[in-house]
């Protein structure tokens, strides 16, 4: 679909680019010591995709083992290592950096009209801290593996002999990469906006990244201190968390979840930002309720710090604290609901183009709504007693994490791929992958809801035969889902070697990143771009009706 890109919409002046793109400088050193946010974004994208492949294969191995009730593929310990490493790699290495570090790094300065992020060297430092931390995680995979679950609950994590220290050191270091990226983005959004880019003209992707960065800066340090105390606990036995030495395991859970619940919002908020962009650009319509969505991102960021106790209703936490946490959990559900309603309302009277990013956005809306609604069961006190730590929880967080963030990440990738690489992917392969991912995902995780409420506990290596059929369907679904994701990856990867050149503005987006050349040259813009209209004032919008509506 190509809109008339030559009619640069009012308000932007952008001399036609001369000079090459940011990809022109060759040589490994130009990549290792680059200060260019676009290259750093690409390197993050490569690393995140690689770890997504590894953790995804671990997931398929887990599902393959669970096809049969009996423990026939691997023994107990290996299975525990499989699901733990699947969880740890997905959380720390894939889903937290995925959208902010790769898409965010690439698109944020472009959307702001800035030459680069506020602290380019700090950006490079974050990338290297990420690689350094990732090396610890890889070492712990190869060393003795990790079998504590990604949550590292004591006293199991202080008594097991597997590679807990190297994995926690890895997560500790990765935390700093996340903090410094968040810090960088907050300062960039505050200080480096081009003239005319006021707070109300900021694309919603930037509001989402801004809220995510606030959580990253305020929550990740508590994870850092938790892991540091866990390492000291294992080495010196100081007795803060380990009951054998006088500590309290529930105190560890408080420390851990104080970070980890805001962390799930670090994961989903950038996904919201991507969906706000996709839904508006591809239905050629202004977002429905800009202020509501922008402020709900910030509201989620703040309220997310008040609700961590709903992970601990049955873990020995006091009944009063559980009741307070349950009440506040419902407060955080409201802004999320507002967002979903607003996205659906954006489709009203639009002109919807069914290209791959839009397909993924619609898949997101379907899956994330299920994920969000099932969260209510787990936030309610009495039902959570029955459902906690069963496959109902596994299905819930996969619907919001996988169905939410990963689908938004892939959708965002398809959306900005032409701008990033200058190459166009094949629409057919993209849409086929969206369809397969949709079918595979529901087939994998919906049976887990039923199995979970029937009492099937999570992290089980062998299970009672009555859950056999659910597991069978779930495993088949996971293979379909894996196929879909491979096709999506293939479509993007092989487009690099394909001949299809991408136009300057394939989707007709009017936020600033579409104003520069494709792929953008090293310093993004020639001179200082200026903006005098909102990010969603598309040419197709019929302002004549405005009198009628005003």
């Amino acid at each position: 679909m190509t809109t008339a890109t030559d009619t640069i919409s009012a308000g932007h002046h952008e001399a036609e680019s001369h000079g090459g793109s940011y990809l022109d400088r060759k040589g490994v050193l130009s990549w290792i010591f680059t200060l260019d946010h676009k290259r750093i974004g690409l390197m993050y994208l490569g690393a995140v995709s690689l770890f997504f492949l590894i953790a995804g294969l671990l997931a398929v191995a887990v599902r393959y083992e669970l096809m049969t009730a009996a423990p026939d593929l691997v023994d107990g310990n290996t299975y525990n290592k499989l699901f733990t490493l699947h969880g740890a790699i997905m959380v720390f290495l894939v889903i937290i950096p995925s959208i902010p570090a790769s898409l965010g790094n690439f698109v944020l300065p472009l959307m702001l009209g800035a030459k680069d992020v506020a602290f380019p060297r700090l950006n490079l430092l974050s990338l290297w801290i990420y690689f350094f931390g990732a090396s610890f995680m890889v070492y712990s995979i190869l060393d003795k593996g990790l079998d504590t679950g990604w949550t590292f609950y004591t006293p199991y994590s202080t008594s097991t002999s597997t590679a807990v220290i190297s994995a926690t050191t890895g997560a500790f270091i990765l935390g700093f990469s996340s903090i410094l990226t968040g810090l960088n983005f907050i300062v960039t959004i505050h200080k480096m906006r081009a003239p005319g880019v006021t707070w109300t003209r900021l694309p919603l992707f930037l509001w989402a990244i801004y809220s995510t960065s606030v959580i990253q800066v305020l929550a990740t340090p508590v994870l850092a201190i938790t892991l540091l105390l866990l390492i000291i606990e294992r080495t010196l036995g100081i007795g803060i968390f380990d009951p054998a030495m006088g500590g309290d395991p529930v105190l560890f859970q408080h420390f851990f979840w104080f970070y980890s619940h805001p962390a799930v919002y670090i994961m989903i908020l950038p996904g919201f930002g991507v969906i706000s962009e996709l839904v508006t650009v591809h239905s050629r319509k202004h977002i429905f309720g800009y202020k509501a969505i922008a402020l709900s991102s910030l509201a989620i960021a703040i309220i997310s710090f008040l609700v961590w106790g709903h992970h601990m209703f049955v873990s020995g936490q006091s009944e009063l604290a559980s009741a307070i946490f349950s009440f506040l959990t419902f407060a955080v559900a409201v802004p999320t609901a507002i967002k979903v309603f607003s996205w659906v309302a954006t489709l009203y009277k639009g002109s919807i183009h069914y290209n791959t990013p839009m397909c993924y956005a619609l898949v997101f809306l379907f899956l994330f709504t299920i994920g969000g609604l099932t969260g209510i069961f787990l936030g309610t006190l009495s039902t959570d007693v029955h459902l906690h730590d069963t496959y109902f929880v596994v299905a819930h967080f996969h619907y919001v994490m996988m169905g939410g963030t990963l689908i938004a990440f892939v959708g965002g990738l398809f959306h900005w791929w032409p701008k990033m690489t200058g190459k166009m992917y094949s629409e057919f392969a993209g849409k086929l992958s969206a369809l397969l991912v949709f079918i595979g995902f529901n087939l994998t995780f919906f049976p887990q809801f039923i199995m979970g409420s029937q009492g099937m506990p999570r992290r089980y290596h062998e299970y009672l035969p009555q859950y056999q059929t659910y597991h069978l369907w779930s495993s088949i679904g996971s293979f379909v889902l894996a196929a879909g994701l491979f096709i999506a990856g293939g479509a993007l990867f092989f487009s690099l070697f394909g001949s299809r050149k991408a136009e300057k503005n394939p989707w007709g987006g009017i936020s600033l990143e579409w104003e520069t050349t494709t792929p953008p040259h090293e310093h993004n813009f020639h001179g200082q771009p200026a903006v005098n209209c909102g990010p969603y004032d598309f040419p197709e919008i019929d302002h004549t009706q405005e009198k009628a509506h005003a």
Partner: protein, 163 residues
């Protein structure tokens, strides 16, 4: 911007030292306090330190923690306000500093709400008393310390032994 810089440089000259710049602003608008302000703050901090130590020797009983914390907060606010110039800084920086304190307070308050109210509804779920039930029927508050194996556990532990 640069013109202002040149003017500032000519006016004060490179080896400018003693000039009292109370209330003067540098070209960026950052506040420069006068030298006596620094020494006054330093003096106040020393006095407060001496006060804290003195308070700890005078046995105030339950009041000693709040008083010590109050003095520490006053000292901290002096350092933050004057030495770190937060008093004259942009509002967003002030928001960032106090915002982090607010989230810290959230963490403290919710965890202490949990720790305090653990035994309220069901007595057995008493907070933190070391009960290691080797023999299910009988409970002895064994607590493993490396060397001295006398019974540990907080005040709750002493009062409460097995049924």
């Amino acid at each position: 911007m640069l013109a202002k810089l040149q003017a500032f440089y000519e006016k004060y000259g490179p080896d400018y030292v003693k000039e009292v710049l109370a209330g003067e602003h540098d070209p960026y608008g950052n506040h420069i306090s006068a030298l006596p302000v620094y020494y006054a703050i330093y003096g106040a901090l020393l006095i407060l330190t001496v006060l804290t130590v003195a308070v700890s020797y005078a046995d105030l009983g339950p009041l000693s923690l709040p008083v010590a914390m109050l003095v520490a907060i006053i000292k901290a606010s002096l350092v933050v306000g004057y030495f770190m110039h937060l008093k004259y800084d942009t509002p967003f920086n002030v928001l960032v500093f106090f915002g982090s304190l607010v989230f810290l307070a959230i963490f403290f308050v919710f965890v202490m709400v949990d720790l305090n109210s653990r035994g309220t509804l069901v007595a057995e779920q008493e907070n933190f008393s070391i009960h290691r039930a080797q023999d299910p029927a009988e409970v002895k508050p064994a607590f493993v310390t490396p060397k001295n194996s006398d019974h540990g556990g907080g005040a709750h532990g002493d009062k409460k032994d097995g049924h």
